[in-house]
Symmetry: C2
Subunit: 345 residues, 2 copies
Amino acid sequence: MEPVAVAIDAMGGDHAPAEVVKGVMEFMTRNPDPRIYLVGKKREIRRELRRLPAGGMNERLSVINANDQISMREQLLTYWRKRERTSIQRALDLVRRGDAQAMVSAGNTGAVMALAKANLGMLEGIGRPALATLIPTVKGKTMLMDVGANVDSRPRHLVEFALMGKAFMQTVHGIENPRIALMSIGEEEGKGNELIKRTYAILKSMDINFIGNVEGRDAYLGESDLIITDGFTGNITLKVAEGVVDVVMSMIRSEMRSSLQSRLGVFLLKRSLRRLRRRLDYAEIGGALLLGINGIVVIGHGRSNAKAVGSALELSVRMVRERVLERISAEISGVRNVLEELSYA
Amino acid sequence: MEPVAVAIDAMGGDHAPAEVVKGVMEFMTRNPDPRIYLVGKKREIRRELRRLPAGGMNERLSVINANDQISMREQLLTYWRKRERTSIQRALDLVRRGDAQAMVSAGNTGAVMALAKANLGMLEGIGRPALATLIPTVKGKTMLMDVGANVDSRPRHLVEFALMGKAFMQTVHGIENPRIALMSIGEEEGKGNELIKRTYAILKSMDINFIGNVEGRDAYLGESDLIITDGFTGNITLKVAEGVVDVVMSMIRSEMRSSLQSRLGVFLLKRSLRRLRRRLDYAEIGGALLLGINGIVVIGHGRSNAKAVGSALELSVRMVRERVLERISAEISGVRNVLEELSYA
């Protein structure tokens, strides 16, 4: 197998470039094959590399300079003129030219999406890209998509998301016939808004393992492998979940400082609590996938630490090796006739 | 002050009538004034009453018979014909006739909403009712509405929700100038779907304390007093939050059983963990309000236990005493001109 090459945006995320550089070096130590292009302000990257063991020397690592960067909340209008000089664009250049097979960034999600679409184009038959991520459930993990690539979606987009997600779960997670659900406000057919009701009717008629609607609470039971939602609802779902974990953790902390007895209890539970945090941690999951683009793009969480960067790199390499793009294309072309009928749905 | 009378649906909720009857008796012990009409299958109610201290005797309690009931997931088409005989309808009758000033049910939310609207009508100037509930945040509590009365809302409905919620927070929670936010997928104006963008523009122009968009995660920081959303997103938000709490609690339980040391730690933390559960518990909050109806209607959580029933009763009595309906009407008539312009928004 030819070694995979990944281009990573060194300037993306709240803790860039330090944590990105550290995450890359840790990833390379664990994975003896992949090549990495570290793209960003060369001087800053070099300075971070020098702080690491062996001065960050690795023959599979290339540093590619980009003089500019796009900040986390910058809007299209302000970054568009300078885009050619930015680390996101330069990393995508490497993929477009075929020097790298995947791109990873924990930077401005909107910018990565817009530039990835402009540079790499869409997979044939797909109207809109979607962001997908794994959520922890009582039983394991479930994929949720779209979590924010689109705001106002139509039924045909949700159907595309389902097909892309299915191909991903089959190849990367080895689930032969993934259980696909629609997020709604009631399990029965006919419960939900117009978008969901119309999408339900289409998914029901297709040759997929569609298990119907799932409510917000039941999404966390782990009874489905893939939950489809529009990007507005999906993004709110994801962030609400993060917010609730924050609330619970802050309550645990305050409750447990309430007496000497509690403090002793917490001391005894230190290891368990750390494990709990880890199970709930976005860093273990490795970020969101941008599916539908003609190229592999993984978007890390804005707060990514070195570990999260490593997980995102691992996911991108897996997607290349498992030929996820080809599998999605095959899935889509298999139902081209259905999708064409939905052009205006 | 004249004693308040509340009609409660004894057959509503997963643990009815036992927990409802128990909750009513506990409530009456704590509150020496209010009268209660307990509405449902008389024989079943009497049987539950006999199990309680003093045989459930209380001169402020009347049992009103209703031969039928609406099950938790029953649809309009199946309950409509029998509605006159149901406990929900008979409880609403008492409010319509003026025998009671509020109605409480932990039963089928859709049925309570539909029958309340049909029996009591809407407040003047309000197009659609909305369900509102409190969510726990890092700092305290925030009201979220609509959490499921409507599926496809228009901007003018969200504006109505904001005005109703404002009046409620002012009267019942004593917050003079509540901070009102819109749930969206980015803080900046212009972030969100069409509905949110259009609603933002209207709220910004009004004489209220509108603080802009709030993201899903930040909703739990407690920086706003009232968060406005459409019923589809709001319902999913609420249920996702419940699901995440379930996941975290099940992880805590499994982590903490992992070693002898952990078990000892948990033993020492027993009281703290119980307090934590209570802080996250829906039973403390007392259910959702149905605002916009020309009458006070509180809808308990379907899984209500006696404590939740008591909280819902307490909330309904407070709403009567604080004259919430009058306050909402005043709020609405103060901006009648704005709302009329929005008729088609």
